[in-house]
Amino acid sequence: MMSSVEFYPVNNPIGDLVRSIFPEPVAVLINGLLALLSLMALVGSLGAVLIYLERKVSAHFQLRLGPMRVGPHGLLQAVADGIKAIFKEVLKPEGADTFIFFLAPLLPVSAAFLVLAVIPFDHHLQVADPAGGVLYVLGVSGLSVLGILLAGWASNNKYSLLGAMRSGAQMVSFEISIALLMLLIVMVSGTASLRGIVLSQQGTLFDWWIFKLPFLGIFAFVMYLIASTAELNRTPFDISEAESELTGGFATEYSGIGFAMFFLGEFVNMFVSACLVTTFFLGGFFPPLLGVPVIDPILSLIPGFLWFFIKAFAIIFIYMWFRWTFPRVRVDQLMYLEWRIMLPANLLLLLLSGLFVAQGWAG
């Protein structure tokens, strides 16, 4: 594993160029700003791309065509919607807490933004690589729960409050499953740094944690998908919005750009979650080598960040597939799923993989 760190340099050419031109303190500042700007560009463009994708994918799952009017095949629909959201009046209900009401829409997006900073998109495409990256991800993603709770509380509306409370209960419950599954990966890979976790999956397709851990990996992968769907508040677990019950949940009172920020946060969080699945189970930026001498060099030609995005978008497609196939579960069914099925299964999985690690069967 140490050899791979030497094999793939952490520096990238742009950063080296800046360091060669400017003195040390200025270069650090400029490099940091460049990294932040690229993340902002990613978040901004992802919102439009994912909303367009979701509408198209959902339409084809439901025998429809989706947006077709604005631009060829509706490509500019997201731009039109964005402009509309910006020019709409921002309303605040009477009796709402002004500061918190306008702070809340920012939090889910900031959470996604902060998590993106530690995602290893390629060998040298990572803003920061803290040694406890997994802990950082767990801690920071809690901000999006906070945003939803604050939105529900500050709106001064019973539906908002109910939606926020449901969402809080749901996210706190499923955070346990997410944390336990992350713990499993940390245990088998022996490191909590996200880059280290990716590097521990170096090799062929069967060195990814989904296959490398005999039988357990695929179970852990499926459970992570379920738990992260619940964490994202997406159907079939969207009881916090539940438009047929709560008119819109925590977002009921938001209009214009406030609602757009929640929407953007939801979609960018979906991408972040897909990135984490890719990092933990699907070998991150490594190409899916098959061990066949003819195909492998061709697969290796494609740059790592492209592999990363291909894998992440495959996971996003699975999330969308779930959303447009399954009906929404009830609150009690949701809690049953977490506390009666997911949690015991998680603990069993953790126990078994501990046994595997102790016996030296895992990788």
Binding site: A59, H60, F61, Q62, L63, L65, M68, T325, F326
Partner: protein
Amino acid sequence: MKETAAKENVLEFVSRYVHKTITGFYTLTKGLDITIKYFVNPKTVITQQYPENRETLQMFDRFRGHLHMPHDENGQNACTACGICEKACPNGTISVLATKDLAGRKVLGQYIYRLSQCTFCGLCVEACPFGAITLGKDFELAVYDRNELTWVLNQSDNTAQGA
């Protein structure tokens, strides 16, 4: 009072629990299978791109448009002015105005159809014993004056309108 079920032992509970979980996941994969088939087959899309495909648009068989009275090549219709359709109509859409021909028989004078009151329920078509009226396929029925919505179906110049 309902009898309580016999208490199951641990083994029974575990097997029921595992069975329930596995069959639950199995049914979910069935649903996923159906939707992915829709997704990968663009031919299954049923949405019509209406103004663009206006020339080729075929309305489906059970579509119920405006009332239409078919005429044969001699300009004759099958209506006997019996008035059953007028009685069958819940909205008073139809007025069958009968006259007498030279032989003194009752024949159709004017078959008045008020599109503005019609709900396209099709009860008149079901009631007609002679098959003299049908529901058309046309749906672009907007006009600028409500007087244009009162049609006389048995006059060929009026039946051409929208039919």
